[in-house]
């Protein structure tokens, strides 16, 4: 097997990215090929070195983070449970209801006013039409002895 291919397999193995089929292929190669075995050993040695460089999580940091989270949680809890927030929310709700009632009555009033105005307009329009229809017919002629240019009965 070419060098690069088995190196890739070993690389994937140590990165936990090897499929089952590839894993069995790698183990078969490890049993037969000395070069594969050597590279695998070197990779395992490297892994051991890396693992030895892992630092332990400081216990005081654990404490710091968890107490920080608890403080944050308490603060949020306190804000949402305080009497002031409750009173504010209640006040806002009452104000919103009052405002919506006020605007509703205002809108109803405008609607009835609009209805009255449109009825008046309709009535006036009908009256004007009646007046116009009652006029005698009009004949418009030019100053020159030409034929009648407008002859319209209103």
């Amino acid at each position: 097997m070419p060098e690069e291919k088995y190196e890739e397999l070993i690389e994937a193995f140590f990165n936990n990215e090897l499929s089952e089929r590839e894993e069995s292929l790698l183990f078969a190669l490890l049993g037969t090929d000395e070069n594969v075995k050597k590279y695998f050993k070197q990779s395992a040695f490297l892994k051991a070195g890396i693992n030895s460089a892992v630092e332990e999580f400081p216990p005081e940091l654990d404490e710091k983070i968890l107490s920080g989270v608890t403080t944050k949680q308490k603060r949020t809890h306190k804000v949402f449970n305080s009497k002031f927030v409750n009173a504010l929310a209640y006040g806002l709700a009452v104000a919103a209801v009052t405002a919506s009632l006020f605007f509703y009555s205002l809108a109803a009033e405008y609607r009835s006013e609009l209805k009255t105005v449109s009825q008046t307009l309709e009535y006036q329009n009908a009256t004007m039409q009646l007046i116009m229809n009652s006029f005698p017919s009009v004949k418009v002629t030019g100053s020159l002895p030409n034929e009648v240019i407008i002859n319209k009965k209103l």
Partner: protein
Amino acid sequence: MREKEKEILFLRYYERHKNAVYNYAVKMLHDSDKAADVTQNVFLKLFENLQLIRDENKISVWIFVTARNEIYGYFRSAKRKENYYDEEEMEKLNLQSGENTQSETELKELRGIILNELNKISEVNRETFLLREFGGLSYKEIAEVTGTEIHNVKSRLFKTRKKLIEKISKII
């Protein structure tokens, strides 16, 4: 989300990721105090934003993107980028024994070589390697955190590992 549920969920994610975030931050910043601050900020932000993260599978990505932003924010504000691990810091690193057969001295030497070599490689390769080895992220997750393609992640990891193996092969 109720308070109790939120708390339980947070503790689950916290326990799962705290070591990874802290180690990633330490290796990126070379400063355990600053790394502790970064870790604290990341988890406090996680707690604040827990309701907003709808996809549970994206939690690791969210955590590491936040950690990365915190780290780069620190780099920007401090205008510094350390390029070495000092000896004292390396001495402070705790050795975890048990699962390996190598002796303590060998591991110490090996660790020194790895950490020194990591400082010599390019920043993108180093970051990708740290996210994989200390963050425990998959190729896909690293690609999402760093905003790149999966094949780039693979290639960066391969190059870095190969380089490190070349270095350590001298002491095997």
